[in-house]
């Protein structure tokens, strides 16, 4: 009895007045992992949008001096005394065993970290591509360097490049997702609404597209891109390539939703009420599978993130100095890199986190998608 009592208690009056979306949100909120993922993704996207501000360096900057430098530790105390956040200066040295270039901290030299630092050190950028600005979230004073994630083979700050790379790695999938959804919705609705031979043709097309092995197809399509294109154009074309391959899943979902909902009693009730076809589709059918589409959209993004990363990793996508997480991982395709410069794998953690977060988010949404079951 206690079990039932508890359930009834939760269903107060507001439950009866709650619309589909309110019920969905209530259910979604209970999925802790999905909520956490949503928060994480919001943080990621915010950082990506304001990437130029967060990153201490711009994409074009490099230094011949600090090549393959490991992450610089941030200190707060100097010889037992509080100094606030600072880094020591870096001294180049040679490993006595391997004779490799290494960097050691010069404890004589203290460089404080300035927050909201203004100056040319980090380079100029435009806020949201509009307002020129040269303020960065943090910067070491003088000629000190803060390399949170170390530097790459050209002496570029990896943290900056991860942040700036997020702009592409996180937004290509969203643009690609929109294209995918548009294509999937169109094809799926055509197949589901008309049925018959239209359905047959689209179904076969889906099977053909799905049966291509992804990587060779990407390679072929990317090879077709001229090397002279600007990063922005490559960006657009990559998006199109990715969405041309990923629409079939969504088209299938939409089609099957059309078929199953077409036979629902409430659709027939609407027809008997005299509702025209447009009203049936817009007022009854689309609202009833909209939630599924949103779930599908969320679950499409991770595969696009991985797709973009794979393409760039293989050198088929963007090229330096333009940056994305895949471009950053390009350097790790040698065993030597992983052995000596482990920090260069850090971008992978972000790919991993983003994909995982989108999957959990999609999971939570899927559980919440049909609040009536």
């Amino acid at each position: 009895m206690a079990l039932f009592k508890k359930k009834n208690k939760e269903r107060d009056d507001s439950y009866y007045y709650a619309s589909q979306w309110q019920l969905m949100y209530q259910k979604f909120r209970k999925h802790k992992l999905a909520m956490a993922s949503a928060v994480l993704l919001i943080v990621f996207y915010t950082i990506a949008i304001f990437g130029n501000f967060v990153a201490p360096q711009g994409t074009e900057q490099f230094s011949g001096e600090y090549v393959n430098c490991g992450p610089t530790p941030i200190h707060f105390f100097h010889e037992g005394e509080w100094e606030g956040p600072f880094v020591y200066g870096l001294k180049r040295d040679r490993d006595p065993v391997t004779y490799m270039n290494i960097f050691v901290e010069d404890t004589e030299k203290i460089c404080h970290i300035d927050f909201f630092a203004e100056g040319d050190k980090g380079g100029e950028y435009k806020i949201l591509g509009l307002i020129p600005c040269n303020i960065h979230l943090f910067q070491a004073e003088g000629d000190g360097q803060v390399f949170l994630f170390g530097t790459d083979g050209m002496g570029r700050d990896l943290f900056s490049r991860v942040v700036l790379g997020a702009q592409i790695s996180l937004f290509i999938p969203v643009v690609g997702m929109i294209l995918t959804v548009a294509l999937g919705l169109l094809m799926g609705s055509l197949a589901g609404y008309f049925g018959g031979w239209v359905d047959n043709v689209i179904q076969r097309l889906i099977e053909v597209v799905r049966s291509f092995p992804n990587v060779p197809l990407w390679m072929a399509l990317s090879a077709a891109l001229p090397a002279t294109l600007k990063p922005a154009q490559v960006f657009m074309l990559m998006t199109i390539i990715l969405s041309l391959i990923s629409w079939p899943n969504l088209a299938r979902t939409v089609r099957s939703q059309f078929f199953s909902i077409k036979k629902e009693d409430f659709i027939m009730a609407a027809r008997i009420s005299g509702a025209p076809a447009s009203a049936i589709v817009l007022r009854h059918m689309i609202p009833s599978f909209l939630s599924y589409i949103i779930v599908n959209m969320t679950l499409t993004i991770p595969s696009l993130i991985v797709g973009e990363t794979t393409l760039s990793f293989l050198g088929l996508g963007l090229r330096s100095p333009a940056t994305s997480w895949g471009v950053l991982l390009q350097e790790t395709n040698k065993l030597e890199t992983i052995m000596f410069y482990g920090w260069k794998l850090i971008p992978m953690i972000f790919v991993f986190l983003a994909v995982l977060a989108f999957n959990f988010l999609g999971d939570g949404l899927r559980d919440a998608a049909d609040p009536y079951k």
Partner: protein
């Protein structure tokens, strides 16, 4: 009954489902007249075409051939082939109540939106008029006005069925097809809904086509009963006449299968042999002959016409005489 005004005529209604090369005649050549203000019960076992018949009449599904004639002030109109303007005018005359009160209400709309939806497409009423109409109808079917802003998930089966009834009534139809309207409900709720339907019939002069497999319910509510078997009408008669002396052997068997509330009453159960034939491949001649106790050679060759054997009694059988004699 014959002096009453005919309001709806179903003529040779046929519905064929095709799947590849096989054809299934879900409904073949069903014809009957419906008089104003009466309730016609439509009975038969699962898969006999009751629901297909109801849905074809309201144009929920498109019949393959046949006519549904409605008698209006402007004359007789074939509802199945009405023009767009005619539909706009007469759509409201034939409405339907669904079997499943859960599946037939769109869970994403409020009760108010559900009930008012037919008005949206069939009238030019203002928002205020619609609101008044919905509130009035809600009161008539026993729904609390305060519940109109709620969503269907807030209601029990019986209340949902009241919402469905309100939706079908809002256009002030003349004929309502009740497709198993109470079958999905608890027995106590069934009684409430049946009483409600009867009250509404008296109040608005409604005509019901009451589709059901529950013989006791049909006997209670119907003026006349149509019995169906494998997509065909086999017998149509006034309720009491049909229940006391069925003229078709199938009706006889069907009625004998109905349970009786008193366990001491002995039922002369007529056991039929075999199964219901596959509708994709029905037997030759009379569809019922492989299971019939009275079959003759003729039954295997020709399908019996659905004709008036006794005043007001339509039967599709070659051997009604033998069937009737056996009961006496």
């Amino acid at each position: 009954m014959s002096e009453k005004k005919v309001i709806l005529q179903v003529k040779n209604l046929t519905k064929i489902y095709k799947s590849g090369k096989t054809e299934v005649k879900a409904l073949s050549d069903v014809s009957f007249d419906v008089c104003e203000g009466e309730t016609i019960g439509i009975v038969g076992e699962s898969g006999c075409g009751k629901t297909t018949l109801g849905r074809s009449i309201v144009r929920g599904i498109d019949a393959t051939s046949g006519e549904v004639l409605i008698h209006t002030e402007e004359g007789v109109i074939n509802f199945l082939q009405a023009t767009r303007e005619q539909m706009k005018k007469y759509r409201r005359d034939i409405q339907m109540i669904f079997q499943d009160p859960y599946a037939s209400l769109d869970p994403r709309m409020t009760v108010f939106d559900i009930i008012s939806e037919p008005l949206r497409y069939n009238s030019n009423m203002s928002k205020k008029e619609i609101e008044q109409a919905v509130e009035q109808i809600a009161e008539q079917v026993g729904l609390n006005k305060a519940f109109l802003r709620r969503y269907p998930h807030a209601f029990s089966g019986g209340q949902r069925q009241r919402i469905g009834i309100a939706r079908s009534l809002i256009l002030q139809p003349k004929v309502i097809v009740c497709d198993e309207a109470v079958s999905a409900l608890d027995v106590s709720i069934q009684a409430q809904i049946i009483n409600l339907l009867e009250d509404l019939q008296k109040e608005f002069g409604l005509t019901y086509l009451f589709i059901s497999h529950a013989l006791s319910v049909v006997r209670h509510i119907s003026d006349r009963v149509l019995v169906m078997y494998l997509g065909r009408a086999v017998e149509l008669a006034e309720t009491e006449a049909l229940f006391s002396t069925p003229l078709h052997p199938y009706t006889q068997a069907l009625l004998s299968a109905a349970p009786h509330p008193d366990p001491d009453v002995e039922i002369n159960r007529i056991m039929l042999e075999g199964e219901v034939p596959n509708p994709a491949n029905p037997p030759s001649g009379c569809h019922f002959h492989p299971r019939c106790h009275y079959k003759t050679e003729q039954c295997e060759k020709e399908y019996p016409p659905f004709v008036e054997k006794e005043p007001g009694r339509f039967v599709a059988c070659w051997n009604c005489g033998a069937c009737k004699a056996a009961q006496e």
